[in-house]
């Protein structure tokens, strides 16, 4: 890890149809790693509370949606903006071998962590080969 100031990728809007309210939908940045037990996803969704996250798994497609609570300070006007506020949405196509009942999700400081454990029957089994 370098000690340099890190740069982030721009918050990119998703390629989804327009929203009815005219608000933007952003594509959250994701880190995905795989271990022997399953796959863990970490998505950056600043401004999203745990109650406002919606995760669905349908036909192998995992969809993650997060609703942002907009900051609307009283008696203050936006003078300078570098980031936009909007909901988050991103989908991933998974392989077949995840157990949808065991998906575990948690939000901490604006980062959503989704743990997808592999289904028991999909755990790799070692097959012994006997010499005859």
């Amino acid at each position: 890890m370098t000690s340099d100031v890190t740069q982030t990728a721009d918050k990119t809007p998703t390629e989804t149809p327009e929203t009815t309210t005219g608000g933007r939908i952003y594509r959250p940045l994701a880190d995905i790693m795989e271990t022997g037990e399953g796959v863990t996803l970490m998505l950056e969704m600043p401004g999203v509370a745990a109650d406002d996250v919606d995760i669905t798994l349908e036909q192998r497609v995992l969809t993650i949606r997060g609703k942002v609570q907009p900051t609307n300070p009283e008696r203050l006007q936006l003078a300078y903006a570098e980031y936009g506020e909007g909901d988050y949405e991103r989908s991933f196509t998974l392989s077949d071998d995840f157990d949808p009942e065991k998906i575990n999700a948690a939000v901490s400081h604006g980062v959503l962590t989704v743990a997808l454990p592999r289904a028991a029957e999909a755990q790799p089994r070692k097959i012994a080969v006997t010499a005859s």
């Binding site: 890190t6 790693m33 795989e34 970490m42 509370a49 980062v111």
Partner: protein, 142 residues
């Protein structure tokens, strides 16, 4: 693109040098990259507020300091610990140290600064000091 130096056959590397110079010119430098964290600044009669997106950072890892009229947000983003045998599929987030300075319209004293962190968004409110507020001048009857 036209490279006139190519006509000079005596220096076989002239064309290569010219091309490399073009590559340098079109490659974005580090300074052109976006800053972290992104900030929004809100202004009002009584206060100025700065909001910053700091997802995945513990409030204890963030340092906020005010000197005269410059507000500095700095800290470190820790990379997640990888369990043994784990491998990355994607790594889009970035980690490391960061620092960002924002110039305020007035000098703030420490006791008028308030910071709050909710869901990865840091919000700093800097109150406007009394001496900076406009004074109303009464018109005396002649």
């Amino acid at each position: 693109m036209f490279y006139p130096t190519y006509a000079r056959r005596s220096d076989p590397f002239a064309l290569m040098r010219t091309m490399l110079r073009d590559v340098d010119r079109f490659t974005p430098t580090r300074t052109a990259q976006p800053e972290f964290p992104s900030v929004n600044v809100w202004q009002g009669d009584e206060a100025v507020a700065v909001t910053a997106e700091l997802p995945g950072i513990e409030p204890s890892d963030i340092d906020i300091s005010v000197k005269d009229n410059v507000l500095t947000i700095s800290g470190k983003r820790e990379a997640p610990e990888l369990p043994e045998g784990a491998r990355w599929h994607r790594n889009e987030r970035s980690y490391g140290e960061f620092s960002r300075a924002v110039r305020m319209p007035y000098a703030a004293s420490d006791d008028t600064v308030e910071a709050r962190m909710t869901n990865g968004i840091l919000r700093i409110v800097v109150g406007r000091p009394e001496e900076d507020k406009p004074k109303k001048i009464e018109i005396k009857a002649a």
